[in-house]
């Protein structure tokens, strides 16, 4: 059995009257990759802050390398080799790679002068250690997210990290970059560094983790080797409910809701044709630059189509602007909901009725009562966890905020609902809810188009999947005929 690096016993932490952590135990061994999983609000971030010394626990014991630490603060934590890489990396975009890597160490050793040559050597050495290749003299603002993360990792290494904690490290990475990151983390593990990853993406957890700890509502649910878990146990313990992974198989119908004939837009996609029948949840996938997202933008009139025809309920329609789309009862949940889909500082009610406000404008007055009732109703129908319709959307978790975007459009009684990346950044429980909502809507006769690169999501929830490649339709498949790997191959094969 490997040596224990960090041990937490019965950690409690409360803020005012709110109990964020209720007696959490955690053991991290040297040279292991440990995954901390939990949904939003499960207490993961509080736990990380306890480990990094940013929060002092209200009760509980902390042992680092067997030694009891009474008052852990950030400086002591760093001295013991605990390093946290937050989601925004806390690096300086205006400084060079070398300086970013060397900066923290220079500050902590109390250096008075800037040693440029030393910083460069240190940076090259750290990059060598993790197998990264970057020009040390380039400004970090020119780097991709993945490389910024490399800079952050290099910085922790030269600070003699013994425990490296990464907060949702894969959130902004492409799948190729995720693989590269994992290779680096495995390399660090082999050097005896303990790595703790905060993540709740099921597939990634199973790929990288050796041991797993699941938190829910501030309590530790379980800890164990990864092979003691299967997907069902993981999901069940994470969400606290039984979520079965069932396939969507609607009743076959001949009633056509939507049809696209050879639609195209220069530089985005061309000759795309498909048809959507009553009850269908229609999936569109492809790589990031395959044109999948642009189809959504085009059908909603943001960047309209330039060729081809579209039909809604058998009638040909023209969509040259978002106003046209709204008039024809097309609704769109954009990819970046925070900036395109929501007014973050306005209330849930304001957001819910934002796209349908004219409905409530009666004789020069807004019908407050009806607006309130509609909002309350939607909160209930879509299973949004919200204190009240007056709460601002900013206070909601990602999953609940996404439900409000969907509610906003459903309140317009849409004929066609297009969702672009509907569950990005949404945790498993809420994701499941959203999928159920989509199925229900399709059953009610609303055309549903889901644009996503989350292949398991598409396979489970759609009954047709259109695969885009280089702006053209590569194939339209039935999910029952393909598995994830085959879909991925269709997207990327030459």
């Amino acid at each position: 059995m490997a040596e224990t690096f960090l041990e937490l016993k019965d950690i409690h932490k409360s803020f005012g009257g709110v109990q964020a952590l209720k007696g959490v135990d955690l053991t991290i061994r040297c040279g292991e990759i440990h995954c901390l999983a939990g949904e939003n609000g499960s207490g993961k971030s509080t736990l990380i802050k306890v480990i990094s010394g940013a929060h002092e626990p209200t009760k509980g014991e902390i042992y680092i390398e067997g030694e009891r630490i009474l008052h852990l603060n950030p400086i002591i934590a760093i001295e013991h080799g605990i390093q946290v890489i937050y989601q925004d990396f806390a690096i300086f975009p205006n400084l060079t790679v070398a300086e970013n890597i060397a900066m923290n160490r220079a500050v902590s050793t109390g250096a008075k002068l800037m040693n440029w040559k030393g910083a460069r050597e240190l940076a090259l050495e750290a990059m060598e250690q993790i197998g990264a290749k970057m020009d040390p003299d380039v400004l970090v603002e020119n780097l991709s997210v993945a490389n910024r993360q490399m800079v952050a990792i290099c910085r922790t290494i030269i600070n003699d990290a013994k425990l490296l904690i990464l907060d949702e490290p894969t959130a902004a990475l492409t799948s190729k970059e995720v693989q590269k990151l994992y290779a680096i983390l495995r390399r660090l593990r082999d050097k005896g560094i303990a790595v703790m990853i905060v993540n709740h993406k099921l597939d990634e957890v199973f790929e990288i983790a050796e041991r797993l700890t699941i938190l829910r509502n501030g309590e530790k649910i379980s800890t164990g080797m990864i092979d003691e878990y299967d997907r069902n146990r993981f999901v069940k313990e994470l969400t606290g409910r039984n979520i079965s992974e069932s396939f969507y198989e609607p009743k076959a119908s001949e009633e056509e809701i939507f049809r696209a004939e050879n639609i195209g837009r220069k530089g985005a996609f061309e000759e795309v044709s498909f048809s959507l029948k009553r009850g269908d949840v229609f999936g569109i996938t492809g790589l990031l630059d395959s044109g999948r997202g642009q189809i959504g933008d085009a059908l909603f009139g943001i960047n309209p189509i330039q060729s081809g025809k579209i039909f809604l309920h058998g009638k040909q329609i023209e969509i040259n602007s978002t106003e046209d789309a709204v008039r024809h009862k097309i609704a769109y949940v954009p990819e970046d909901r925070l900036t395109q889909g929501l007014f973050l500082d306005r209330s849930i009610q304001d957001n819910t009725i934002a796209a349908s406000i004219s409905k409530y404008f009666i004789r020069g007055k807004l019908d407050e009562q009806a607006m309130y009732q509609a909002t309350v109703e939607w909160i209930k129908r879509i299973g949004c966890v919200a204190p009240s319709p007056e709460a601002s959307v900013r206070t909601l978790s990602g999953g609940n905020a996404q439900k409000i975007v969907i509610a906003k459009w459903l309140n317009t009684d849409p004929a066609l609902l297009i969702l672009n990346g509907p569950t990005v950044g949404v945790d498993i429980g809420a994701k499941y809810d959203i999928h159920q909502i989509l199925r229900r809507l399709a059953g009610e006769g609303i055309g549903v188009i889901v644009i996503s690169d989350d292949l398991p999501e598409l396979i489970q929830n759609c009954n047709h999947i259109l695969v885009m490649k280089n702006g053209r339709v590569s194939e339209i498949v039935e999910p029952s005929e393909v598995n994830e790997t085959e879909l991925a191959t269709m997207m990327s094969s030459q």
């Binding site: 990396f89 806390a90 690096i91 300086f92 975009p93 205006n94 400084l95 300086e99 900066m103 923290n104 220079a106 500050v107 902590s108 250096a111 008075k112 002068l113 800037m114 440029w116 970057m134 020009d135 380039v138 603002e141 020119n142 780097l143 991709s144 997210v145 490389n147």
Partner: protein, 332 residues
């Protein structure tokens, strides 16, 4: 290596060099009087005080803030020092500079407290301090211009680094005061490039939260920056008084626009985190060249203000567009 040369040739500094060269050639070909050493001497004289101001402004902007109070601080330092010395019969050059530095330092501390402790937006804080300071200057010392300075201060004006007599027999001399901005530039260059404290100023301007996490004392950095700016403004005020052989409470007011234009033109990003001493020197050179010599092109005086505004907009657009380009371009 090719990439490095290309980066150098398209750097902010080089762009300003091209503009300076282009402008010099244009003025020189239209008006041959421009091609003379006297132009250089005059230019150096014009740049002298602007350069000190530009150094403190650059320092503040790099840290992520802005300071518009330096003309008011310099004016108060100049008038107060002049009046106090004359009234008390004091006559000592180092003492004059020390008094200017102290007055500037006190007002800089006020800026720092408002910004780093009270957390006011820097523009509002320094605007307020500027207005208070210039009001106090006029209320306490009046609007009178002091034309007779203590003898030793006045003598310093006549000490020259070198003199040049042109064929027509007119003598141009470069005052010893020019050593002050040179010294400040060297000091600033060393501070910003080679001390951890200086790098902390860049770090703070780049990402204040990350700077805190990295272990920098951000409050101390902000205090230093605004106090330093105040001290240098005070010194600039005394320098100006000696250079002009008079203390005028209103002559410097309104120069902040031109200084900010020069700093921004020199590649300092108004959003903080970017800026160099060399770039700032070039920016000041360009603005001074325009101010001094645009008239040689037949451009009317009042048109210069227009040109300086235009340069500020163009200069800021170049840096903004560059930043936008970097944000949008493919990352490595």
């Amino acid at each position: 290596m090719n990439q490095k040369i290309r980066n150098f040739l398209t750097s902010n500094e080089m762009i300003v060099v091209y503009i300076i060269a282009g402008l010099a050639i244009l003025i020189g070909s239209v008006n041959h009087a421009f091609n003379s050493i006297s132009t250089v001497v005059n230019l150096a004289r014009t740049m002298l005080v602007t350069l000190i101001f530009a150094m403190c402004e650059m320092l503040v902007i790099v840290s992520g803030g802005i300071d518009v109070s330096f003309p008011a601080i310099a004016s108060l330092a100049m008038i107060a020092t002049g009046n106090i010395m004359l009234k008390n019969g004091l006559d000592n050059v180092p003492l004059a500079f020390l008094m200017g530095a102290i007055i500037g330092g006190v007002l800089g501390t006020l800026n720092a407290v408002l910004i780093a402790v009270v957390k006011m937006p820097p523009l509002i804080a320094t605007l307020g301090v500027s207005s208070m300071t210039s009001g106090a200057t006029l209320a306490i010392f009046g609007a009178k211009i002091l034309t007779v300075l203590p003898a030793k201060l006045d003598e310093l004006y006549k000490v020259s680094l070198f003199t040049y007599t042109n064929p027509e027999g007119i003598t141009y001399s470069l005052t010893v005061l020019f050593l002050i901005p040179i010294g400040i530039c060297l000091l600033m260059w060393f501070l910003l490039k080679y001390t951890m404290f200086g790098r902390g100023i860049y770090a703070t301007g780049g990402d204040i939260r990350a700077a805190r996490i990295a272990g920098f004392n951000v409050t101390a950095i902000q205090f230093f920056v605004y106090i330093m700016s105040g001290i240098l403004s005070g010194i600039a005020g005394i320098t100006y008084m000696i250079l002009m052989r008079a203390a005028d409470p209103s002559v410097l007011m309104g120069s902040e626009m031109m200084v900010i234009a020069a700093v921004v033109m020199g590649g300092t990003r108004i959003t903080g985190g970017h800026g160099t001493v060399l770039g700032t020197i070039l920016g000041v050179t360009l603005i001074s060249l325009i101010k001094n010599n645009l008239i040689m092109l037949g451009v009317p005086t009042h048109f210069q203000t227009f040109v300086i505004g235009l340069i500020m907009i163009v200069g800021t657009s170049i840096t903004s567009l560059k930043a936008k380009h970097i944000a949008n371009s493919a990352k490595i």
